[in-house]
Symmetry: C2
Subunit: 679 residues, 2 copies
Amino acid sequence: MAASMVRQPSLFIIIFFAFAFSRTSCDHHHPLDPLTPAEFIAVRNVIKKSYPTSSKYNLTFQYIGLDEPDKHTVLSWQSKPSNTETQTPPRRAFVITRFDKQSHEIVVDLSSRSIVSKTVYKGHGYPLLTLEEQVVASELPLTYAPFIESVKKRGLNISHVVCSTFSIGWFGEEKSKRVLKIQCFYTNETVNLYMRPLDGITVVVDLDELKIVEYNDRFVVPVPKGEGTEYRLSKLKPPFGPHLNSVAVESPDGPGFTIDGHTIRWANWEFHLGYDIRAGPIISLASIYDLEKQKYRKVLYRGYLSELFVPYMDPTEEWYYKTFFDCGEFGCGLFAVSLEPFTDCPSNAVFLDAYYAKQDGEPVQISNAFCVFEKHAGDILWRHTEPGIPGETVREVRPEVSLVVRMVATVGNYDYILDWEFKPTGSIKVKVGLTGILEVKADIYTHTDQIKEDVYGTLLAENTIGVNHDHFLTYYLDIDVDGEDNSLVKRNLVTKPETKNISPRKSYWTVSTETAKTESEARIKLGLKPSELVVINPNKRTKLGNNIGYRLLPGSVSSPLLSDDDYPQIRGAFTKYNVWVTPYNKSEKWAAGQYVDQSRGDDTLAVWSLRNRDIENKDIVLWYTLGFHHAPCQEDFPAMPTLTGEFELRPANFFESNPVLKTKPPKHVALPNCSSTHH
Amino acid sequence: MAASMVRQPSLFIIIFFAFAFSRTSCDHHHPLDPLTPAEFIAVRNVIKKSYPTSSKYNLTFQYIGLDEPDKHTVLSWQSKPSNTETQTPPRRAFVITRFDKQSHEIVVDLSSRSIVSKTVYKGHGYPLLTLEEQVVASELPLTYAPFIESVKKRGLNISHVVCSTFSIGWFGEEKSKRVLKIQCFYTNETVNLYMRPLDGITVVVDLDELKIVEYNDRFVVPVPKGEGTEYRLSKLKPPFGPHLNSVAVESPDGPGFTIDGHTIRWANWEFHLGYDIRAGPIISLASIYDLEKQKYRKVLYRGYLSELFVPYMDPTEEWYYKTFFDCGEFGCGLFAVSLEPFTDCPSNAVFLDAYYAKQDGEPVQISNAFCVFEKHAGDILWRHTEPGIPGETVREVRPEVSLVVRMVATVGNYDYILDWEFKPTGSIKVKVGLTGILEVKADIYTHTDQIKEDVYGTLLAENTIGVNHDHFLTYYLDIDVDGEDNSLVKRNLVTKPETKNISPRKSYWTVSTETAKTESEARIKLGLKPSELVVINPNKRTKLGNNIGYRLLPGSVSSPLLSDDDYPQIRGAFTKYNVWVTPYNKSEKWAAGQYVDQSRGDDTLAVWSLRNRDIENKDIVLWYTLGFHHAPCQEDFPAMPTLTGEFELRPANFFESNPVLKTKPPKHVALPNCSSTHH
C-alpha cells in the first residue's frame, strides 16, 4: 500500500565469481529472462565507466530491468527450431539513474557491453524510489533536533521510534522537487508499528539532497496503545485458537511441472515466468496444448500487474497526499518477500529466487520470491452422473488440479498475495489477496459515541482510526488469442419481445455482438449492462464457424469514487474504466506512466487512449482493473484476514470441444503403512 | 437443470429392522434432524391408515419432510442444558400427497403417530414431482403407436430411445391439469443422450391419469450425431490428456471435525447439517466460538437453496415452456447424487447419507449424499513480513484451512455442485459449480455461415444448438447476527467534495449509513451503486461502539432479462432483485411458493414482500440470488467444465479484533520413509 519499510540489503548481497559471469556469456537465455546478477554487474560497470566523475552519492540506479526485445523479435525467435544456437535476440538492459538531480534513461547492450542510448528525461515525475535512499531518508528524523523535541513532548523514547517513507503525490504544484514525506511510529511493546503512529508531525525530505527540508509539528494526539497490536505467535498469550488440523499434501511422483530456466510446463500449459522490480511476476508466452490440433496455441503474450493505486480517503492536511501508486513509486517486485515454505505456499511448492540491483548497481537476491505449486482444492473439473440409461450406471468425475504461481509483495504495511492460476480447461485466473496491516491514524476517540464528525474511517481500537481507502490493481494483458491480431467483442445480452406469436412466451434474451473498432469503444465500466467481453481472433474460426476467443470473466467490480478533476484521480485516471484496449505499443507498459512519483497524469493509459487508435483485428492489449473499496472493520485489527479479488480469462470457442474431456482423473495415492513425522 | 432422469429406486431401497425403529423412539434427535427412515415408515403407515380406500395408484406421497418446529421452540431447546432429556420438541412431518386429483397437506405427529392437521390445497400449482411418476410418464411414449411411428419416420431404432420429463410452466392458461411434457433422446453410440434430442415432437402426459393426452409430430430435424458426445473415460479413444499428477492429501491425526448426529463441529464453528428433498443441504444454527468472549455466538439460524430458476431463451413452440424451477418442481435434494470418493471430494472427506421417501412412502437411502472435508487450497489466512524493525526479522504467516460441506444435485442434464464453506475467520462462503451436460436442440445447421436467423444459442456441434439460458439460485439466509433481532444496513460509499480548503485534495468518499426500515427499502439490485450490505444487530455493539454485523459480499452479479410481464418472470419474480429482506415467517420458506409446478406467481417472495412489513430490529431473513447468464460455447460440449459462482457472509465488527490472530499454523507433516500405493 504505501509505507515503505526496508529490507536489510546487506543480508542479501551475494558475491559473484567467475561462474556467475560465465552464465552471462552463454546463449541459454530466453529473450524475456529477467536480468541475471552477472548482467546487473555488467550494467553497473558499463554505466559507471561512462560517468567517470560520479561518486556513489550522485549516481543512483533507480531502475534496472530487461529492455524487452520487440515482440516480433521474440515471436520470431520462438518460432525457430530450438537447437539453432545463434537465435537469441540481443540482451539489453533499460536503466534509469539519478545523476545531478536529473533522471537519465540509458539502454545498455549486454553482449557488446556498451551504451546504446542515453537521454535525460525532462518531463514531470520521478522514477522508482530505491530502498537505500528510503532507508537513509527514514533515519533522518532520528537525529533531527526538532523531531527529537517532538518525541520528548509526547513523552516517548526516541530509541523506540521507527520512521517510514511516503510518496507525496501531486496536487497541482507548478514546480516540484524530488521529496518524500516521513511518518514515524512507536515500536515499544510491539512490532506492529503501523498501529502506533506519531501523528501531527510533517517531515519532508529532499531525496536528491537527503536532508529534511520541511518540518512541522502541528498537534499532539495520543499514540495508540501497543496492547492488542502484537501479531507474533511467540509473543501472544493464551488462549490460542481456533485450532486447525495438520495435513500432508504430497505428490509422490514429484511435482507435475517442470521448470526449465524461467519456462514452466505443466499439464497442457507452457509459459515463461519473469520478474521485474515494478511489476513483480510477469507471465509471458503462455500457450496451451490443444490435444485435437496436436500443437501449442497462443493465449497470452505478456501479463503483469502494471499499477496498484491506493488512494486514502482522508482529506486533512496530515493524510490528503496518501494516494499511492505502489508499483510505479515503490516497486511491487522490489517489495517481494521471501516466501515461507508450508505457510505461504503448501508443502508441494517449488520456490524460485529473484534478483534486482541496489541503488549502487549491486545485485541482490530475494530468495523464494516465487513459489509454484499444484493446487488440489477439492474442486471438480467437470462431472456428470447419468441415471437415465436403463441398465447402466454412469458417473464420470474429474477432480480439478491447477497450477499456481505466487509472489507476495509487502509494500510497507500491506501484503499483496499475487497469484496466477492456470487451469487445464484453458482458464487463467488472476487472484489478489489483501492482507497485512492497515494504515491507521491516531485520534482522540476511544468510543464511537464520542465521534460527532467524519473521521474518514472506522474506530478499530482506542485512539486508532482505520482510514477508508481503495486498492485498484491494473493488469496489463497482452492477449494473443491463437495469434497476435485480435479484436474485442462485446456480446451484449439483449431482451427481445416475442412478437411473432409463435408461442405464449413474451420475451427472451439473445446475444447482440459488437466489435470495438477504436479505443473509445473499448473503454468499459463493467456491471452497467449484461455483456460478455470476448477477445477473439477474427482471422480464425472453429470448424463450425464460431469465432475463436477468450472471455474475460470479471469478479466483483469496483470503480473509483474520486472526482475526475481531483489530482490523485488525474494521475490514476486509468482506473476510471474497468477495461481498456490499446493497440500493442512497446512503450505503453505502465498504466500510470514511466515516472509515477509526483506524476501529473500526462503519461497514463487514459492519455494514450485519447488518440483513439484502431483496435480491430490488431495486436491488442487488454487492461483490466480489479478494485476494492475498503472501509476497515475491527476484524482487520491488528492484522487483516485476507480479502480476495479475482478475474478469469476463459476460453470461449477457442477449443472445438471441452479440452479436459480426455483428462484422466489423477491416481489416488494412499499412504498406508508409514508413520508421519510432525515438525 | 431440467430434464428429469431417474435414479433406479430399487437399488437404493433399504430394509428397516427393529434397530431402525428403535432409533425413532429415543430422544437423541436434534429438533432439526431430517426424518429418519423409520420416521418415513411411520408417516406412511399413519397416512395410509387414514385413507382406507386408497390403492397405491391413487395416493402418492409428493413430499415428506420435517415439519420444522417454530424457531423459538428450537432456540429455547438449544439454550437448555444438553443433559436434560425431555427437552426435544415434538417431531412432526409435513406431507403433501396427491389423492383423487387433489393435493392434500397433512401434518403428522411422530410421537403420537397421529394426524395433526389435514387440508386440501385449493390454490394454483402442483407439488413436487415424484421420481416414480416421472419414470412411468417417461416410458409411455415407448409403447405409444404414434410415437413409434415418428421414430420409424426418422429412421431410428426405438430400442435406443430414452425419454425424459419436463415441467411445462404456466403461460396464462385459466385452467390447468397436472401434466408434463416428454422429450426423447437417442442413446445409440453414446450415453450422452442430451446431445441427441429427437426434436419436433411434443408429448404431453397427464400425471394423475398417467397417460398421453396430447401428441404432435411437427417436423423432422436430423438427430445430432453421437460422434464426439461420449464422455465416459472407458469409451474414449487416445490421445488422452492433459495429464494431471497424482497427489495425497492426508490428515494424519484424522479429520479436524466431529460429526455428532447431524451436528458438525470444526475449528471455531458449530452447525447442523440437514437435508430436504426440495432444498438439499440445510445449514442450521451455525455459531462461531469467540475466543475473547469464550462463548459461541449465533450467525445463521438456517440457510439453504430455496429455489433454482432456469429459464431458457428459445421462444419457439418446442422450447418456450422450458423455464424450470428445479428445487420446487423436481427437488434439488431429491436429485442428490452419490458422491464418489477421491474425485467428487478429496481423499480426506467424510461422507454422509441422506434419506427420502418414495412416492409410496418407502424410505430410500442416498449413500454419500454429502461430503465434509477440510480444504487445504494453499491460500493464506493472513500474513505479514515486517522488515522495518531494526535487528528483527518478522514474518508471520497463517495458512488457510476451511471446512466444506458439499452436495451435488444432478437435475437431469445439469450437475450443480452446492458447497458451503466455513472459514475460521468467521466467513461463510456459499459456492455453486455448474457442470454436467447442456440442454441442446437439434437443428439443420452444420456451420455458422448457414445461419441467417436467431437460433437462440450457439452451434456446438453439427446439428446441435446449445440454447441460451440463465441459472438463478435463490438462497434463504435466516441470519441471526449474535441474536435474532437484526437490521439490514446499507453502507453507501458517497463521494464528498473537499470544500473546506483544509488541503489541496478535492474529493474523497465516505460511508453514509442507511437502515432499511421496511421490505421495500431492502429490495436491492446490486452493482448499481457502491454500497456495502451489512446485517447488524442493533442491540449489540463492540466495546468501541461499532455495530456488530455480518457483511454480504456478492460475487459476480446477474439479474433477469425477461420482461416483467412474461409468465416465467411472473413466477420467478423473486429473482428481480439480488437481495430481499423479509421478517421471519415460518411459512415463507420457498421463494417460488409451496406449489411451484404450474404456479402462477401468486405465492412468491415478490408477493409476500408487497406487504412491506417492518424489518428494522426484527428477526429477519435475507434472500440472495446468485445468477448466471449462460450463452454456451464449444468448450461446454459434450460435457461442461465447471463454472463457479459464489457469495460470502463475512464478519464486520462482529469480533473485537481479528478472530484468527491467535490461530497457530497447523503443523507440517512430512511423510518420509514410506512407500505410497497407487490405486
